[in-house]
Symmetry: C2
Subunit: 379 residues, 2 copies
């Protein structure tokens, strides 16, 4: 193996290790494996107990023939049993690499066989295959990399032994990167679950349903997406929104749970929940807490300056506050509460329209009303 190849494998390892999003990573693994071997196509499977989860697939020929949209439909996640019958299953169960010059010539007495249904369905001609188990640090097979048709001058040829060797170095790096991305996912999930659990708990006294905060988060994220914010920003808002009413913990039962209308004095106390929330969440270097502080503080401001606690006006209200204000009010209107049925859709829409420029940012109302189909799905 020459130094150039060596450097390339190192570079790929580094590129893989710095990718933390699992789906992006799996696609990167495939494209790099194609680059190294000249393979026309390939797939990645992850091993989960006794199942193989098909996670990513790429195929240059089919991409040209079918287009990106059709190709995407083709790579929907599916599962198969990790048995020796399929080639990926064989690699997963035995831990052995399969380097098959021509899948049509697999002897009938082999434990695995080639399933031609894919070729038939998409009018593709699979010839050579390289199927490599991916092992983690504990030497367990955690995934399988399956490459199809090594091309030379556009014609499928068998994968070379040298390619097999390189790709197996590569596959160990890929396995670790996958584990790291999965760990990252797990940490994020744990964090997110905690935010939701505890925010739900905080709404307990308010007799809000757990689903209220979930819906508000989804509406807020949808608005952010439609405004063109990137994935990270949308996620940050999605995670911050649940804590918008955390300050209600500081409001006495007698006011929070009063059945009739509040007196102006009681209302003044009730309105303190925005500032109390900001207090609870103050001074954090953690992005999600810092953002949730802004949301808690400003989600009762109104666009015309008649809100609370700071009577901010228009664009002076942080965007996150404007977004959650709209999401929160819409959810209150459109949901069933113990004391009221859900409001009919047209009436809720009319209230948002009427509130545009007064209660709500008119641009946000416009975007929101343009997404009623997705909003219904969320609801």
């Amino acid at each position: 193996m020459d130094e150039k190849v060596f450097q390339k494998i190192l570079d790929i390892g580094i590129a893989l290790s710095s990718e933390h999003d699992l789906d992006t990573l799996l696609n990167k693994i495939l494209s790099k494996a194609q680059e190294i071997t000249g393979a026309d196509g390939g797939s990645v499977y992850l091993v989960k107990k006794d199942r193989l989860i098909f996670k990513a697939s790429r195929n240059c020929t089919l991409l040209k023939k079918l287009g990106a949209k059709k190709m995407n439909e083709l790579v929907k996640t599916f599962e198969l049993p990790a048995s020796k019958k399929s080639m990926a299953g064989y690699a997963a169960v035995t831990g052995r690499t399969l380097n098959i010059p021509n899948v049509k010539n697999i002897p009938a007495d082999e434990e695995y066989f080639y399933d031609p249904s894919f070729d038939k369905k998409y009018d593709y001609d699979t010839v050579s295959m390289l199927v490599i188990p991916m092992r983690n640090k504990q030497d367990e097979v955690t995934g399988v990399l399956q490459l199809i048709n090594s091309l030379e001058n556009g014609k499928p040829v068998p994968f070379k032994e040298s390619q097999e060797k390189i790709i197996s170095s590569f596959s160990s790096q890929a396995a670790i990167a996958i584990e790291n991305a999965a760990l990252n996912d797990l940490l994020e999930q744990a964090h997110f679950d905690t935010i939701f659990r505890l925010s739900e708990a905080a709404e307990y006294r308010d007799k809000e349903t757990a689903n209220h905060i979930k819906r508000v988060s989804h509406y807020a994220k949808l608005l952010f997406e439609k405004m063109g914010h990137n994935k990270e920003e949308c996620k940050l808002l999605f995670w911050s929104a649940p804590m918008h009413d955390i300050g209600k913990l500081g409001i006495p039962d007698a006011i929070l749970q009063k059945p009739g209308p509040l007196t102006s004095e009681e209302r003044a106390i009730m309105e303190q929940h925005a500032a109390i929330g900001a207090l609870v969440l103050k001074d954090s270097a953690i992005p999600v807490i810092a953002k949730s502080r802004i949301v808690a503080l400003t989600h009762h401001e109104k666009y015309d300056g008649s809100g609370y606690p700071q009577k901010l006006k228009g664009e002076a209200i942080p965007l996150e506050g404007r977004v959650v204000a709209l999401a929160d009010v819409y959810d209150a209107l459109s949901s069933k509460r113990v004391y009221k049925p859900p409001m009919p859709e047209e009436k809720a829409i009319a209230i948002l329209k009427e509130g545009a420029g007064r209660h709500f940012d008119p641009l946000l109302v416009k975007i929101f009303l343009g997404e009623m189909k997705k909003i219904k799905e969320i609801r």
Copy 2:
């Protein structure tokens, strides 16, 4: 570079990528770098803005001479400005590798110079040095690896050009691994901060100080450590303990904040907080939530079976519940509250002793009372 060396670098890259604890990782980076270059010693610095943070150091000769304890004192974290004057600073600022055959022969007109104070202090003889910037994916220098005295037959010789080359491949892998471990740290910190913030918020109505839950977590962790639980288990309990009273969100103000003693009916409602907490935290696959559910449910059980809600007895009470019960009561006794001063130490200890076998697990009381010095530090 031959194939064996290549394989070794790949293996090291994999070993580094799978280490998520930053301190362990930095030590691993050093030991692997020593292995590759035959260096007698070395240090790792991380770049934070315009400072270099000294994070890890190893030296075989000094370890033999001074012993592990003295050596540990030597590697306390310190900072220096990232200026060209120090060799590590020079590598950080310029991004250049320094391969110095003999530090005593550095020309006087160089921008950097060798500081002999370390040698003098520890009677060590630094001769050759290899100082390598570590770069992240964005090609920014995020750390510096400094190796001392490449040994051949026990004698310091200059670092070879081939070693320099290998170590610079290695250093890119190390840089990514450091970034990943730091990201992991950040995610964990964010999660932990959220748990504390929201648990604190939940105690708001109870007029507990924020520090109550922090102390309980620390006491509980200390007990777990002394019982020999591993780092992960201790951390899990430390993170779970804050949520032990989350169920108080379900208790009305009239009972939770009643100044005088509770009637038996009120007490029955108050005691529901354990079950409510378990309800709020139920059915989670997230370890910290699942564990906190157990803590919330069982931290008012008593060793003799007279506790609530399940009247569990002895070892039938989950260990986490027994641990948090002791930590929680001790903190209530030993802290100042609005309605009482802190109890004198001897009296708090007497109550724990008296409660051993009745309220508390006697083994835990014994361990706890053996750690009064650390407990005072926490307090």
